[in-house]
Symmetry: C2
Subunit: 341 residues, 2 copies
DNA sequence: AATCGTTACGAAAACGGTTGAGATTTTAGT
DNA sequence: ACTAAAATCTCAACCGTTTTCGTAACGATT
């Protein structure tokens, strides 16, 4: 009923616990026949080491923590999947927590993970996280931490990101190439780095191609769970303010889909009257009509990469060596679909 | 640098480790002033109990395992969110694994979780899981297990489900009420219980309302990552075989969206020529055009409920009492949208 | 016969906390 | 003053493994 322990095996075989332990771990100082006897019995009793004990002894938990702003989200669930799949291969388990875009929750959850003695942490910061002392705490405990997607310049650690600026530049340039002369931008919140970078990419692309940058064409949205509505609202405002706009680059697919809906409701034709480019390549963007041109943000690979880097750092730290932080930028690509057709 | 231990506190205060431990846990046999001294120091040193040690001693890990077929999935990510949020409130952490709809992986992952000594397991079975001896193993270890969504009749345990049959009945009846006379059904794979139940609900609804049940109107799809394509393919076949069909009830929203796409491509008007009802109420169903009438499957609440039940069972088992398995059915509701407008 | 080197195993400390059973001191009751 | 009863604190075992160090046995070497 209760799981078998080394002790029970030792008693049955009339040997000491240490011998059994060593036999199972193939220590050279155990006789071959003893090893065989131990292993046979262990197998037949279905012995599995108690990880709680192993963890305590070895001072590692073989688990990593993952904190993301929102679980129900195409991009993040892809990241989760990437992390989980890599972790499993390396014998690690993943504990998931959701910060709900709240800095405060994020703090608590980091505490939680530290108390749980996770071997490492992967995090995408909440939107309202600007001060990061809670993150510093992680390094004090000698636990590696990798950031992805929403990162902070303030913290010195490995980061897995895309080149938001470049991607946004490409998206905007695509609109220009398609003949757009007056291009609006629905940007994300003001603090997150990636939202800033996308904005910068948009602006640079305009200026590089001899188009005027007009701040009144930039609309802000929080990109939270109201994204879709925000897209509609911004689109509505846009149509009221600027009837001459012929292209929009939008910070997130979901917002873009909201905008598309509003355009359709008001009889504005896409792509004939306005062309639209989104960001992230949510699955639904490929199945709506008109399908949405967007930037593919490789969530799955970001997850994989983030874990791989974390794993390297865990191993490095175990060997007592110094960490070398990497800034890994993954390639994005423009997916051309009907909204810029 | 390294986390503070009880021992260190004890030494500083010239008392024994046990006194410190008890003081922090508010044992009645420790003096009030001692308690205060201990607590003050513990706070100032930022003491946090080492959960690895606590876990070993108390023989509980304060973590639960969750196995789902697919992480990147609107329904499942909602479930995850529900579970994680409830677990966190009760001081539990959640380890997530993905079975990828593979029975074999499922086995391994259950092993993994058992070795990790999780306090409980929540699982939605893989499509191809029909024999369940690996699940029996969980109960042998006295670890509670709760199934949700894709459950098995073969296993005696608590289950959180929706009344698939009733929901499917309602969906089909809705089509009938809207005037459909010849209603097709795109069903899920053959083994999963919920796919069978939905099929039964569909059939019963037809018969109850004097419509003929025609097996050739039933199409099968695996509902895996090719769902969207499957929807298109089935729709294509349907249009080839049965031009007279005026309504379809489809096992999953994503398949339905694939079907809608094919209908649109072929110039079949929805809802005028064919009315469509999906299942699950994926977020995207509300933002596509025409928006999809569907059955709302409360993923978040299912997650919450599953964890709550698991929690009850964990507590029950701790007290040494016998478990009472519950079969919890959550309410679904029909969301009427444009595809049956 | 004393020394040495192997080989094969065991004892015991450790990891960091929990907890019941004493031990010691203080307080109260007669 | 003497004892019973509280009140407070410490001991020590324990959870299941890992790992260092010690040592017994035995044949080989000098």
């Amino acid at each position: 009923m209760k799981p078998v322990t080394l002790k029970q095996i030792a008693e049955r075989l009339n040997m000491s616990v240490s011998t059994v332990s060593k036999a199972l771990k193939d220590y050279p100082d155990i006789g071959v026949d003893t090893k065989k006897r131990v292993r046979d019995l262990a197998r037949s009793l279905n012995y599995k080491p108690n990880s709680l004990a192993v963890n305590l002894r070895t001072n590692e938990s073989k688990t990593v923590g993952l904190i993301i702003p929102e679980i129900v989200h195409h991009f993040f669930s892809n990241v989760i999947k990437g992390i989980v799949s890599r972790a499993e291969k390396k014998g690690y388990l993943v504990i998931i927590l959701q910060s709900d875009e709240s800095n405060e929750l994020e703090r608590k959850q980091i505490e939680l993970l530290l108390n749980q003695r996770v071997d490492g942490i992967i995090i995408s910061l909440a939107n309202d996280t600007d001060q990061c002392d809670h993150i510093e705490g992680v390094f004090k405990q000698q636990i590696p931490l990798v950031m992805f997607d929403k990162v902070s310049k303030r913290i010195d650690c490995s980061k897995v990101v895309i080149d938001d600026r470049k991607a946004a530049y490409e998206a905007t340039k695509h609109l220009i190439d398609k003949g757009c002369k007056r291009i609006a931008h629905f940007r994300g919140a003001l603090t997150p780095l990636n939202s800033i970078d996308r904005f910068m990419g948009y602006r640079t692309a305009l200026l590089d191609h001899g188009l005027e940058f007009d701040p009144s064409l930039v609309y802000i949205c929080a990109c939270d769970d109201r994204s879709f509505e925000e897209g509609k609202e911004n689109a509505k405002k846009l149509l009221e303010d600027h009837r001459d706009v012929d292209g929009v680059f939008i910070n997130t697919d979901l917002v873009a889909i909201g905008a598309l809906t509003e355009f359709k409701n008001q009889g504005v034709r896409v792509p004939e009257d306005i062309k639209v480019v989104g960001f992230s390549n949510w699955f639904m963007s490929s199945v709506i009509s008109p399908s949405l041109t967007t930037i593919d943000q490789p969530g799955f690979r970001m997850g994989e990469t983030a874990f791989d880097q974390l794993f390297i750092e865990i191993e490095t730290l175990k060997k007592g060596k110094d960490l070398i932080f990497k800034n890994i930028e993954l390639e994005t690509k423009l997916i051309e679909r009907e909204t810029t057709g």
